[in-house]
């Protein structure tokens, strides 16, 4: 019995991580840094990306299918929705699809971190077009007493995927976007001291943004914030993440279609080899 209890205590939980593509691997990377002692199952719904151009109903249906795959097929006991669009538009639908399983999105942790960091109460949020149109960050910031200005930065994802991380063109694009944001903030009489990176690709540009913002502005990496929120959940949970080091992390990646780009770019996002990506069919 004692042996069994001890064994149970060291069994690491399975954490399911979902994204429409592979950008969410930056969230998985932060999760592994904070909680190396776990089994991770990551699914990228690459057959149907990008979710950003799709309707709420379609996104909810797709995201629910992936969540059910992680829970039913992979035994996930905790889900991280590492996709801003799905977190913004489909979090409730995902929770309904996997009753009893705790589900954490990326929006609330980012807004919490902005609340903790901002002294002026004024926040800038950059994200994809779809996330901005959902106003999910604006709403979450308002709920925390923050004023926020959001801006879609659609060139940043392709720049990251092109590998132009420390590239002068990327620095130019970041400057142009930040100048437009500052002008809009000034026109609205805001004094922002916090910048939220509201897209899972943007942590790859964290250094570039830290170099580009004015002194005294804090850059919030929502992948990092989400990982910290997950740690908090497990601190209060009976599921224990006992001891252990990076060697004990187990990662298995799945994709719903063409795994080539996932395998080619994924390791850079994850900061370690993604290994073989398994193709899965979630149906229509």
């Amino acid at each position: 019995m004692i042996r069994n209890d001890a064994a149970r205590e060291t069994i690491a939980p399975t954490i399911g991580v979902f994204d429409s593509g592979f950008g969410g691997l930056t969230v998985l990377r932060s999760l592994i840094q904070h909680m190396p002692r776990a089994r991770y199952a990551f699914i990228g719904d690459t057959a149907r990306l990008p979710y950003g151009s799709k309707s709420r109903r379609t996104i909810a249906r797709y995201a629910a299918q992936s969540a059910q795959f992680l829970v039913r097929e992979q035994g996930a006991e905790f889900l991280v929705i590492a996709c801003n669009t799905a977190s913004a538009l489909a979090l409730d639908a995902i929770k309904e699809a996997v009753p009893g399983v705790p589900v954490l999105g990326v929006i609330e942790p980012g807004a919490d971190a902005a609340r903790a960091a901002s002294r002026s109460g004024d926040v800038l949020v950059i994200a994809t077009d779809a996330t901005v149109q959902s106003h999910a960050y604006l709403t979450a910031c308002r709920e925390r007493g923050l004023r926020a200005i959001e801006k879609a930065c659609p060139l940043l994802v392709p720049l990251v995927e092109e590998g132009w991380i420390d590239h002068p063109v990327t620095a130019d694009v970041i400057d142009i976007y930040l100048n437009e944001l500052r002008a809009e903030a000034a026109a609205n009489d805001l004094r922002p001291d916090t910048l939220v990176l509201g897209c899972t690709h943007y942590p790859m540009l964290r250094s570039a943004f830290e170099n580009a913002v004015r002194p005294g502005v804090t850059v919030i990496d929502s992948a990092e914030s989400t990982a910290r929120a997950a740690v908090k959940f497990f601190d209060k949970s009976p599921m224990r993440l006992v001891g252990g080091g990076p060697d004990e992390t187990e990662v298995h990646c799945f994709a719903t279609d063409s795994v080539e780009k996932f395998e080619r770019l994924g390791s850079r996002f994850l900061g370690r080899p993604v290994g073989n990506v398994t193709l899965v069919d979630l149906g229509g």
Copy 2:
């Protein structure tokens, strides 16, 4: 009877135009310029774009559904596949899906135009990642006795969609891509005198490319080449495009999901208002 024949002679054919998104509206724009006297039905499979990250099997299935919609629901008598990925990977599957209906892709007309323009026989092709990986232009050029070097330019589509058409960042990106292409051509002992714009978004950057290429290099706009190939088809066909002017063009656009971006950007691509875009459901 005479009246009926006369009436039949002036009935314009319905031309179906298909793309995974709305970039193919540049092809529709060229078609209308060359053949204003027609009814056009355009479908963008926006629910499932981009095709570029999907497998050949999936692309073939999706493209066939759109082709069947254009023929069966819209009465299209001629199909233009205004999508490089579908033209490269699914043209045969589309032809099988709509037996008896002539189908024209965008790859062959672009390669024909390059053959007509090039004196050196050496050609540069720029396209999306997926089109380049298919090597469809390389193959089509080789079949015409041309040597070709292909390059994926994944930043150009988002730059066009951001509206940075005459923007210094876009000029920088074009210069970087062209310099890389020239270096690769020189390393392979090619003397290219022709540049094929092998993506339906790129005609929006035609002037920028014409400014960026070296003197004596011809820029081939594959939307324009495709429209000329369609005109040739109708010249030989019993379907007559009788007289008429731009006033008589009828255009109806359909999309499989979120029409907002389509309506917002489409008119710029089409060079005239796209009007109301009708949502259609093609199933899974």
